[in-house]
Every structure is written in structure tokens, then in C-alpha cells.
């Protein structure tokens, strides 16, 4: 029996969603691909056990988020000998969702990895605080405080978005 039976099918079925999460977390195609690759290598190595546990998607997501946060320091070294000079988008557009998206994209890049992770979990994945805490392996209180820090920082970094109602009623102060 192929030890990866079902793994390829699983990834292909979830690839679009997983790719979006990886891109939201990193904001860069190359890093997103690296993140996803790195996470899936770990999952593949223990696929039979993961599949047998019955909820591989939840497991993969945990790996992705943890992998994202754990490169917090490592990436500084690997980014040093940059082979390609970075370019960036500029928010030239004065109106509409394009501006919103671009401003938010730049603001997200300035959040800490953990803050970015809670924003993606809570507002893209639409997870509850408890579920987000489970993915990140931390307390609900940590998710609350990280979410508040992240939202507060987004408001500062992206004042263009200040009129948006970002708060969710269950987010404590």
C-alpha cells in the first residue's frame, strides 16, 4: 500500500484554499510556496497517522500556521543573500476596493507574524477565538489580545481604512 495514498488527492482538493492561506500569511508568492511546501513535507512524512486521525485539514492548517510563526527569526538569515531585488505595489489608486486591498496588504506586511496569523484565522478563515487558539496552540486570551493588538496596529498603519467596522462583538478589550 502506498504510504502516501490519499495525500496527493487531499492536497489537490485543498490546494486552492491552502495556497490562499499561505499567501495571506506571507504576502509573497515565493514565500507562500516555500511555506506550503515546508508544511506539506511535514504532513507527508506522517500522512498515514494524520489521515487515520480523521481531520487532516485541521492538522495541515496547524502545521502551516506554526511553520509560519516559527520562521520569525530564521527568515532574516535566508533573506540576506537576496537573489532578486524586491519590488512592491504602490497604492496609487484613490478609490474603491483596489485601494483598500493594497493598503491592507501593505499594512499586513508590517504586523508581527503572530498578529498576521490571528487576523487571517479570525477574519479570513472565520474561526472562533477558541478555534483560532486551538490552531495556534495558545490560550483564548492570547488570541483576544493578539487580535486587539493587530487590529489596533492595522488602524494605525492603514488610517485609510479607519472608517471600516473591523471589530467583532466577541473580541474583548
Amino acid at each position: 500500500m502506498d504510504e502516501y495514498e490519499g495525500f496527493r488527492e487531499f492536497v489537490r482538493a485543498r490546494l486552492a484554499r491552502l495556497s490562499r492561506v499561505a499567501y495571506l500569511l506571507t504576502g509573497d508568492h515565493t514565500q507562500a510556496e516555500d511555506l506550503l511546501q515546508s508544511a506539506l513535507v511535514k504532513v507527508a512524512a506522517r500522512w498515514r497517522r494524520v489521515a487515520a486521525a480523521g481531520d487532516p485539514e485541521a492538522y495541515v492548517k496547524k502545521i502551516i500556521y506554526h511553520e509560519h510563526i516559527s520562521v520569525w527569526r530564521r527568515r532574516r538569515l535566508v533573506e540576506w543573500p537576496m537573489e532578486r531585488v524586491p519590488d512592491r505595489r504602490s497604492a496609487h489608486d484613490e478609490s474603491g476596493s483596489v485601494l483598500l486591498r493594497m493598503v491592507l496588504e501593505q499594512a499586513l506586511a508590517k504586523l508581527t507574524r503572530r498578529q498576521r496569523a490571528v487576523i487571517v484565522l479570525r477574519y479570513f478563515e472565520d474561526l472562533s477565538e477558541a478555534a483560532a487558539a486551538d490552531v495556534l496552540g495558545c490560550s483564548v486570551g492570547t488570541v483576544k489580545s493578539q487580535t486587539n493588538h493587530a487590529l489596533k496596529r492595522l488602524r494605525v498603519l492603514a488610517p485609510e481604512l479607519a472608517d471600516l467596522r473591523w471589530e467583532r462583538t466577541e473580541v474583548g478589550s
Binding site: 499561505a22 504602490s90 476596493s97 503572530r114
Partner: protein, 451 residues
């Protein structure tokens, strides 16, 4: 619909389908096969890390005046500064809070508090704009700097952790925006004993240099606080023993005010939209400034997400001041395809030049995809040929049309660019390097880190 969720969804749509399945499987197998070689792998990783750390020329600026470890050590050994430096009870409470909250290397809250003996407070005090801020470091092989902020007068327990990062040199914190978003406060901190100077009055001269009048801050303080109304173009520098240690823009410099000018380029084809986007991003608004489109053209764009793929437009625009020189920038506008066009720029596409009739620009082209080897030359219209020289050898050349041309050039950490007229005389000469670590704190005049 929740606007944040919607915006996040739009960003997520930019993702590609990363083809990782097979590589994941192969990588998983390979990973397990080499597991027994882990010590060798670690040794190799360390070697690669050391090689990477030793790569020359990753920073711009003058000769280095301190190694990063020495500079970090100087910061760590500096006394606590700020208005709360004499308040021992506040500092004790702050250290206790930091020991409990400063995250570990993987970004997690520490399960066991840090040893308070490892916590150093570099700065604690109130700054203009109504903020109380603190800079705290947990020492170690990789010292972790944490920024905390709260309202002026707040006890240490009410300060909130803003962010944590590795301490690598002088600290510039310029994201302290007032509640109405109209004001901004900054804190810049270097070693005790360094001399801080500020300048808000740049003169861009015809020879390409920038003349500034620098005003010293109180001697020996080694830090600067300003706000909440900071003039555009304010720059700060630290000197030590007569040598420049650090220089940077204090605040971001992007301007969004549209400007009026003739979009006809000196070289290439008109690209008025790209030219306007570039021109209005230039921050120079003083009287007598003249916007000059040095080069504009059509440019094929490949966007992995498809929206911007097609023929885009690109423009390099200079704000020429009465002193003869000025800042310039380059913007690429994607094809759009009925959607809002998207603009990109590139670190090598912005800077300061002197008289454009005696200046040459060499830059990589902005891209929606991976960086190419294309090097764009923008020289005076009289120039007919350009050469790229490194180590005494010509490593690239191209014919110029109205002073503009393009060639393929592999990444270089420093080369001379010469533009020749039809008689073979050099009409302009400049430098080019791929050695940019993004924009840093300085879009036109670069951030200088002399360590």
C-alpha cells in the same frame, strides 16, 4: 459583509496554485532518508549562515564604523534614556511585564518568564503626541527588542506590546500616529554618546549631491523624539567620534497630491498615467520645482494572477529643483484589463540625480513577476551608447536611443555606468548596484547604516 474579511478575501485571490504536492512527497522521503545525517546538515546550515552573514555589500553607505555585534553591545550597555529613566519603580514594573510578555523566537508568549536579569530597558518615557513608549530588550545571542506603547502617563502595566524583533542597530520607530491620524511621533535611538543631528532642508544640487543644514540635538543624548507635527523631508543622523554611524528619513515620504506638468518624455513614448503616478509620489513641493519625464514607454507585463498581464506603461520622472538636481522615481502601471490598474515601483528606480543633461540612471525594471536581468539605462538624450564597467572590465553595453536603452546584466553589487555621445565622449557617469535591502527608511536619499 465584514469589510476586513472582504479585503482579505481579495488579497487571497492573488494567490497562485502552488504546485507543491509531488515535491512535498519527495521532500518528505528525502527528509527521512537524511535524518541520520542531521549533525552534518546542521554544520552545513551554520556554514551557509556564516557565509550569508559575511556577504559583502548588503548595506549601503560609507565605511563601516562598527560591527553589528559591537554596535548592539553599545546599545545594550547604554544607560536607560527617556523621561522615566530615573523612575526606578516604573522600570522595575516594566521589566517584570517584559519578562512575562516578550515573545520567544517562535513568536509565542514565554511559558516561563524570562530571567529579569536579562531584561534591559533602553528607553522609557513620554514623547510628544500623547504617547508613553518603552524600548525593552531581552538579551542573549540574538537580543530581542520589544516596543511598548500607551497613552502618556500610563503605568507600565498598561503599556501594550507593539512588536518584537531582533535588535540589530539604532532604532527608528515612526509609526506612532495620533488618534485622528493627522499627527505622527517618532523615536530614534542610538548609543549613548553618539551625536544626533536633524535636517529638514535638502538642497539637490546640479552635481547630484544633496546639501543639508544639520542642527545638533543636545550633546551625548544619543536619541531623538519628535512629533506630532513633523515636516516632510526631515532626516536624522547619528555621528560618533566624527564618523557617520546612521542616517535615515524620519518619516515616510510618499505624497499623493497630483501635479501639473508636460508628460512628453525626453526619451521613449508618452505614458501620461504612469508619469502622473510617479510625479505625484515625489515629495518635493517647494517653489520652482519642475517635473521632467526623463523616460517613459510601453512595457510588456506578466502578472502571475493575470489581471495586469499585457502592455503596461512605465515612466521615470524627476522633480528638478532650482538648485539643478532633484529626486526621481519610476512607476510601472499594469495593463488593468478593465480592472483598476495596479502600480509597481522598484528600489533601484528611485534616487537623487543632478542636472539631467549630465546624469545617467541605471535601474532594474519593476515587475509583477520574478525579477529579470533587464537593466534600463536613462541617460541624456545626446548619449548614443552606454557601458557597464566593473573591476576595470566592461560587463555590459547597449545602444541608446534618445539616451534610453536596455541590456541584460546579472546581479551586481557595484558597477560604473558610462554614457557616451556620438563623438565617443563621456556625457554622464554614475553607479549602479543591486545591493538594496528594500527601501529602508529612505526612498530617495538612502538609509545609511555604517556598520
Amino acid at each position: 459583509m465584514n469589510a476586513l474579511k472582504h479585503a482579505l478575501g481579495e488579497i487571497a485571490e492573488e494567490a497562485k496554485l502552488y504546485e507543491v504536492t509531488e515535491r512535498a512527497v519527495r521532500g518528505g522521503r528525502r527528509r527521512r532518508r537524511v535524518a541520520r545525517l542531521a549533525p552534518a546538515a546542521v554544520a552545513l546550515a551554520v556554514a551557509v549562515g556564516l557565509l550569508a552573514a559575511g556577504m559583502p555589500g548588503q548595506r549601503t553607505g560609507p565605511d563601516r564604523v562598527a560591527s553589528p555585534p559591537a554596535l548592539v553591545a553599545e546599545l545594550l550597555n547604554s544607560s536607560t534614556r527617556g523621561s522615566l529613566a530615573p523612575d526606578e519603580s516604573f522600570l522595575a514594573e516594566l521589566k517584570d511585564k517584559a519578562a512575562r510578555e516578550v515573545p520567544t523566537a517562535d513568536g509565542r508568549k514565554p511559558e516561563v518568564p524570562w530571567n529579569p536579569a536579562r531584561v534591559r530597558v533602553l528607553f522609557a518615557g513620554d514623547v510628544p503626541g500623547g504617547f508613553r513608549v518603552a524600548l525593552v530588550v531581552v538579551t542573549g545571542a540574538h537580543p530581542v527588542l520589544s516596543k511598548l506603547s500607551g497613552p502618556a502617563g500610563a503605568p507600565a502595566s498598561r503599556l501594550q506590546l507593539w512588536e518584537s524583533d531582533e535588535l540589530r542597530g539604532p532604532i527608528l520607530w515612526n509609526e506612532l500616529l495620533t488618534d485622528d491620524g493627522a499627527g505622527r511621533s517618532v523615536l530614534v535611538l542610538g548609543p549613548v554618546g553618539s551625536q544626533v543631528e536633524v535636517s529638514g532642508d535638502p538642497h539637490y544640487l546640479a552635481d547630484g549631491s544633496v546639501r543639508r543644514t544639520w542642527t545638533p540635538e543636545p550633546a551625548g543624548s544619543g536619541y531623538l523624539v519628535r512629533g506630532p507635527n513633523i515636516p516632510a523631508g526631515l532626516r536624522v543622523r547619528f555621528n560618533r567620534d566624527g564618523a557617520l554611524l546612521y542616517e535615515a528619513d524620519v518619516t515616510p515620504s510618499i505624497n499623493r497630491t497630483p501635479v501639473t506638468f508636460d508628460p512628453t518624455p525626453r526619451a521613449g513614448r508618452p505614458a501620461p498615467v504612469a508619469a502622473q503616478e510617479a510625479a505625484k509620489s515625489l515629495r518635493v513641493t517647494s517653489p520652482g520645482v519642475r517635473y521632467v519625464v526623463l523616460w517613459s514607454d510601453d512595457l510588456p507585463v506578466h502578472d502571475p494572477n493575470g489581471d495586469q498581464t499585457g502592455i503596461g506603461t512605465i515612466a521615470t520622472v524627476m522633480a528638478q529643483t532650482p538648485d539643478g538636481g532633484g529626486p526621481y522615481t519610476t512607476f510601472l502601471v499594469g495593463a488593468g484589463h478593465g480592472e483598476e490598474p495596479v502600480v509597481r515601483d522598484h528600489p533601484t528606480g528611485s534616487g537623487v540625480i543632478g542636472d539631467p543633461d549630465h546624469s545617467v540612471i541605471a535601474m532594474r525594471l519593476p515587475s509583477f513577476d520574478r525579477q529579470t536581468d533587464d537593466l534600463q539605462i536613462v541617460a541624456p538624450p545626446a548619449a548614443v551608447r552606454a557601458e557597464i564597467v566593473s573591476g576595470g572590465a566592461v560587463i555590459g553595453s547597449t545602444v541608446l536611443n534618445q539616451g534610453a536603452g536596455r541590456l541584460k546584466l546579472a546581479r551586481t553589487e557595484g558597477a560604473t555606468v558610462r554614457a557616451y555621445d556620438a563623438a565617443g565622449s563621456v556625457v554622464a557617469q554614475g553607479r549602479f548596484t543591486d545591493d538594496f535591502d528594500g527601501w529602508g527608511y529612505g526612498r530617495y536619499e538612502r538609509e545609511i547604516r555604517a556598520w
